[in-house]
Amino acid sequence: MSYDAPIKELGETHLLPEGTTRNDITETIAGVTENPAPRGWWLLFLLSVSVLGIMGAALAYLFTQGVGVWGNNAPVYWAWDITNFVWWIGIGHAGTLISAILFLFRQKWRTSINRFAEAMTVFAVLCAGLFPAIHTGRPWFDYYLFPIPNQMDMWPNFKSPLMWDVFAVSTYLTISVIFWYVGLIPDLATLRDRSKNLVRKRVYGFFALGWRGAHRHWQHYERAYLIFAGISTPLVLSVHSVVSFDFATSVVPGWHTTIFPPYFVAGAVFSGFALVMTLMLICRSIFKLHNIVTIKHLDLMNKFMLGVSLLVGYAYAMEFFIAWYSANPYEQWVFFHNRLGWGQLDSNGNWGPLWWAYYAMVFCNVVVPQIFWFKRARTSVPIMLIASVLINIGMWFERFVIIVTSTYQDFLPSSWGMFHPTLIDILTYLGTFGLFFTLFLLFVRWLPMIAIAEVKGNLPGAHPDLHALTAHDEEPDAAAVPVPAE
């Protein structure tokens, strides 16, 4: 029993409570999709659908009027839309991190949260992809972004980081959906086998592809899963690196920096983890999953967030150091005046007007997570709920700070300007929450939100002990008999 036994010397214990059976796990997780929805689900669902309606209205208005209904204008051409894009896609990264990177590192505690986080990835990337698509102004021409042969012999410019984004994000969405679906197949078979009525049996059965748990299938399946994890890991690092190239390859002060790729990836993982935490705490309490997502899982996630917050804090500090050390006046102006609000007054006699966004970002992303040094905070549900929401607010401000404070005042004072969001900006952003939560709530209601098969594999004694079995055999295996040396 060496494979799944906790290491006693390190004080490890089993992840799931003693005495949990395979059937308990099936009942708890599959039960969510079979029992009537709790009232909390209906409340949240109606709310989300209403917010989704707001998004529809905001988009309809945008399409009929044009992007002028947003606050973006010279010199701030990218504002909330690209902030939201970067923020949403960052949220998605935690899903891939949990499902792929923690899988490669054999972190078995991931099995209680990975399905959940993968679904979050898919929906967050959908929300993210919406923003660049509508930011083009005429989204019905978005197909120009793909190298489709056409009568004008026009091709995309593949040297543009924005084109890299098109490929990175669409690949990311495709691979995330595949990874998620492949993980779902055995659990869909569980739902199919438990179905009492014909519609459920047919629908789940169709998507379960006739899975029969055969080991000859599991063998290839497991390797395929490993390959997905193996390709998703560099993919997730590349996607946010490519997003950061949109900024880093330009010459704009505050964007033109080599620290951006790792800085963006760390920030992405940070916000994604925080959102997984927020959603998990809510679902855990609505659907009573306390035995499967235990305080121990949450404790581990909090430790992880603390670690990433230190990475993000380091990146913030290093940006400032380089701005000061470079002695580049434009860079210093952006960092010290536009972001911190320090230094001389600008031409209108104002202090840097967006200083509060920078301080909000540092407070939420660097100061707040320090509370997780204390075990009492790491195991307290209200504290982690508040902290995780604050972290996501902070991460939104991070992107806002990067985009707006770098562009509203750059090289030429004559072309300085300011950005003010309009009502449509706000409603569009708000509306994507409707899209995200509507999809998410449908997911938790109709699909197994925790990887049933993977959690079962983590139970004590889930795997046969072949050595003990063969040792007790009277007739030893032919292959085990040592070959005499010639």
């Binding site: 890299w164 990175a168 290839h220 497991e222 395929a224 997905f228 390709i231 594999g457 002990d465």
Partner: protein, 192 residues
């Protein structure tokens, strides 16, 4: 059809614990069966050895298509951005000089080469997996068994198919009975 007849499709033996099924699997393996399988609710480690399976080669498919993806990306970008000949009448490429770089500059093409490699590798792994394990297949005779529904919950099963060369109604039954199953049943399928 009035005189539809049935023929045996497979034996299905049920077990309660990982160790009992692993022990039984080793017996079936040593008896020399080929068309048989273990059905478990989760991927059980050590069963490859207990069943005597060869290592999976799905990685070869992933690798080949991943490399194909890289090559496709290089070709696509060089064709469209660096040359101006018209292949198969899809439209000629248009050499672009951006930022003073030569039209076929390699460094800015790296991200897309990488992403396309990943994309093709991922798609090939998915479809390669489905091809190897012959899914979707919604009509397997094993689903005739009521008890088999527990295979996705908490029970373990061994099935030996009638198509196996060593399959024999009496001897196969005796072999499986000797492994102490919780239940043992013969699944039949209809002959058209």
């Amino acid at each position: 059809m009035a005189n539809q007849t049935k023929q045996p499709a497979l034996y299905l033996a049920e077990y309660g614990t990982p160790n009992t099924i692993a022990k039984a699997a080793m017996k079936v393996r040593d008896a020399g069966y080929q068309k048989w399988d273990c059905h478990t609710p989760y991927a059980m480690h050590g069963m490859d050895e207990a069943m005597g399976l060869k290592p999976t080669r799905i990685g070869v498919i992933s690798f080949i298509f991943g490399m194909l993806g890289l090559a496709t990306a290089v070709f696509m970008m060089q064709y469209t951005n660096a040359f101006s000949f018209n292949l198969l009448n899809i439209g000629a490429g248009y050499p672009l000089v951006v930022g003073g770089k030569p039209p076929g500059a390699f460094p800015p093409m790296v991200p897309i080469i990488f992403e396309l490699g990943i994309l093709l590798c991922g798609l090939a792994t998915l479809f390669g997996l489905l091809y190897i394990i012959k899914l979707p297949m919604h009509n397997h005779p094993i689903f005739e068994s009521e008890r088999f529904e527990a295979a996705s919950d908490d029970r373990f099963f061994i099935s030996i198919e009638a198509g196996d060369q060593k399959f024999d109604l009496e001897r196969t039954k005796a072999l499986l009975e000797a492994t102490d199953p919780i239940s043992l049943e013969l699944i039949e399928e209809e002959v058209q």
